[in-house]
């Protein structure tokens, strides 16, 4: 087998399983108290400062960060357990998701001591949130097509341009902006740098992008002579592309790539259990197939968390999980339709119909975010040496 496709089989240790039960008990308590309603795609759409701060209190945000920066110094596997339990429950984890998943690790790897001291403890408290600043209007899949630029004037930088598809920018605090700090040449991956930009700074304006669902999660963010100090440069000037791509790798590996519609699956099972239906071969078989795929994806994803823990490369396998995971998320929707006759509606009286409507309406996004199916498959193709 290609070495890059070898995945170690990792089994959860006893203590990890105990930890999982602790997380699960916490969620159940909150559910019982009515703190949240399980929802599909909650890591994108479920923004709740209250919930994020509750998780911060438990030490479950930025939990892999070193203790000196407010983290718990815990393993990636433990973090994996938290994310998986939250997604399976459909808990509102969107606020801190990006900061926890990629901004924190980025700053830990490339940030200055000042940046780490300033931002990481507040991320861990679940009170400061970050946006991604990669995509630009009209760039499409060509991520390197960056026109936003920062120009040095005396001791400050002036940032001009715009970013698009920034999820939650209207509710979050900062954005990691990838921009040109040198003139564009033939080699468009060069001369790019990353800055931390305060989304409430002068010169920043945020325009909502209303989704086809009618919801507002995404934004276009404009920068007009936004002033940035040298302190806000992340890593090396000119190394922004490499740093940004490393950030993307964090995006594809997690269970959010196959659990977005899990709450629908759980609700579907609840409904099926209530049905007094003698003709059950169909339901048994289709649910059995979904469970087999779910377990397989969990095993793969957990193995990737293990690889990350060991600092092993995982981007190729992560792409596979995302591709398979997106298909699985859609298969849940189609199976639901086949097993339970209904007319989905976002404001139905039935939780089942609400979850189905939400899952369907969000489904075009599954393959768009974190790399389209084509891009993922091209990454795999390249990995195979084609």
């Amino acid at each position: 087998m290609e070495a890059s496709l070898q995945l170690p089989v990792s089994k959860a240790s006893h203590s990890l399983t105990e930890f999982r039960h602790e997380v699960r008990a916490f969620i159940q308590k909150e559910l019982d108290a009515g703190s949240f309603q399980p929802d599909c795609d909650s890591w994108l759409a479920g923004f709740s400062r209250e919930w994020s701060m509750k998780m911060g209190e438990k030490g479950w945000v930025g939990m892999t960060f070193p203790k000196e920066y407010g983290g718990q110094g815990e393993s990636n596997l433990k973090r994996y357990v938290v994310t998986e339990e939250m997604l399976a429950a459909g808990a509102p984890v969107a606020a801190h998701w990006i900061a926890d998943r990629q901004t924190g690790p980025l700053l830990l790897k490339y940030g200055t001591e000042y940046q780490k001291q300033t931002f990481l403890p507040r991320i861990c408290k679940g009170e400061v949130y970050f946006s991604i600043g990669l995509s630009e209007p009209n760039a499409g899949s060509d991520l390197a097509n960056i026109h936003t630029k920062a120009v040095k004037e005396s001791d400050e930088w002036l940032l001009n341009g715009s970013k698009i598809w920034t999820s939650g920018a209207h509710l979050q605090d900062y954005m990691i902006v990838l921009c040109r700090t040198e003139k564009q040449t033939e080699k468009k991956h060069e001369g790019l740098s990353q800055f931390i930009v305060d989304l409430r700074a002068k010169g920043v304006s945020i325009r909502p992008i209303t989704l086809m669902t009618g919801e507002h999660h995404f934004n276009e963010v404009f920068f007009e002579n936004v002033r940035l100090s040298d302190e806000m440069i992340v890593g090396e000037l000119g190394e922004g592309w490499k740093q940004g791509m490393a950030e993307l790798a964090f995006e594809r590996s997690g269970p959010e790539r196959f659990l977005s519609t899990y709450p629908l699956l759980e609700e579907m099972i609840t409904v099926l259990k209530q049905r007094a239906d003698a003709d059950s071969t169909y339901a048994y078989t289709e649910i059995g197939k979904l469970v087999a795929t779910l377990v397989t994806l969990r095993r793969m994803s957990f193995s990737i968390a293990q690889l990350l823990e060991e600092d092993q490369p995982a981007s190729l396998v992560a792409s596979l999980v995302k591709d398979l995971g997106n298909q699985f998320e859609n298969t849940i929707i189609e199976t639901a339709r086949m097993l339970i006759e209904s007319e989905p509606s976002t404001h139905s009286e039935q939780q089942y119909e609400r979850l189905l409507a939400k899952a369907m309406l969000h489904s075009p996004g599954f393959t768009l975010r974190g790399g389209t199916t084509e891009i993922l498959r091209s990454i795999v193709g390249k990995g195979l040496g084609l």
């Binding site: 006759e341 007319e343 404001h347 768009l368």
Partner: protein, 349 residues
């Protein structure tokens, strides 16, 4: 040779293209009914296609009416065209004059109780997911009594309670509740089971034609987008992966149109009309779970925004495929018929 039918289609298509804009559709989701558009269609006689001229209709055939409904679907038209046309047909077929009031219809009528008394009838029960109740004066629906007799009811909506609901395309699909609703004898017309079946299958085909039209529209939009949208310096339609996806979408949309047309033609021939309609609804509903993701994949992020009109079609397709029974519902019936017959499948076709 340009036939009169061709002229009807061309004229209707042109009118829809001009009038049924993105904004008009968005407005309708916010509860604004496109009155002017509707009145224009009505005055042109589009709402009475398939009703003979000597019954005050516009003439033409049901086949032509279904072709018009396909156009309505291909423009996501937020108007009760199918509902009005099918109600009109039933009136005429039961020997009644065309009404001056406005009708919507329901084909789901399982839990409705109907009691005759000296002066008229008492109705109790709920009609679920009825389109356009805000606009209509009356609900028209076939109902079967406990004694097995069929009646076509015309229920004034002001005698009912409606509970608001809508599908994921933002089309109103309200609940109509009758609680001891009393209607007079002229509003309850006996009909044969054959008439009732015809009503049901025409309703089903109406929605099916609209799906075929909307599928065609998302294909057209996708082809257009693939030619216009540039990436890495060339139109994305030049990339093999996009080209292959468009070919699949073309197959789905074209086959959907063939089976929809075939069912519509069967109305005229009256050969196996009901089976053909069930097959069309099953086939097309099933196609949508393949077709819609392709259209969104080709449009990428822009097609996921409210700004772009793609969602006006894809959300309707998602809704319509489940309305009046999903492919699971109808496939089960088709399969049960096939497996209950003593004939081989080939001899049943």
């Amino acid at each position: 040779m340009i036939t009169i039918e061709r002229m009807l289609i061309d004229t209707t298509e042109k009118l829809f293209k001009q009038t049924c804009t993105k904004e008009l559709i968005n407005d309708s989701e916010n509860g604004i009914f496109p009155k002017i558009f509707w009145n224009e269609l009505d005055s042109m006689g589009i709402t009475t296609i398939g009703v003979p001229e000597d019954c005050d209709g516009s003439g033409f055939t049901k086949l032509d009416a279904f072709a018009v409904l396909k156009i309505a679907g291909s423009f996501a038209a937020p108007i009760p065209l199918a509902e009005s046309i099918i109600a009109n047909w039933q009136y005429v077929e039961l020997g009644l004059p065309l009404p001056n009031t406005k009708q919507t219809i329901s084909m789901i009528n399982e839990d409705v109780d109907l009691q005759q008394h000296s002066e008229g009838w008492i109705i109790n029960g709920t009609f679920n997911r009825v389109p356009f109740t805000q606009w209509a004066d009356e609900l028209v629906s076939p109902v079967k009594t406990t004694t097995g007799k069929w009646y076509l009811l015309t229920i004034p909506l002001n005698l009912t309670t409606t509970a608001p609901d809508s599908n994921i395309a933002g089309e109103s699909r309200n609940k109509v509740i009758c609680q001891n609703t009393s209607i007079n004898s002229s509003q309850v017309i006996a009909m044969t089971p054959e008439h009732a079946a015809q009503f049901i299958h025409e309703t089903l085909l109406g929605r099916t034609m609209m799906m075929a039209g909307a599928l065609q529209q998302i294909l057209t939009m996708s082809i257009h987008h693939a030619k216009e949208r540039q990436q890495f310096g060339r139109p994305i339609g030049k990339f093999q992966a996009i080209k292959q996806q468009l070919a699949v979408l073309t197959g789905l949309a074209t086959s959907a149109n063939v089976i929809a047309d075939s069912a519509a033609t069967a109305t005229v021939d009256n050969i196996q009309f009901q089976t053909e309609v069930k097959i069309a609804k099953t086939y097309i509903s099933q196609s949508i779970s393949k077709a819609v993701p392709i259209a969104h994949q080709i449009h990428a992020a822009i097609g996921f925004t409210h700004e772009h009109p793609l969602h006006q079609y894809t959300r309707r397709l998602w809704s319509w495929r489940d309305e009046y029974g999903s492919e699971a519902f109808w496939a089960k019936q088709i399969g049960e018929n096939v497996l209950s017959s003593s004939k081989s499948l080939w001899n049943q076709l």
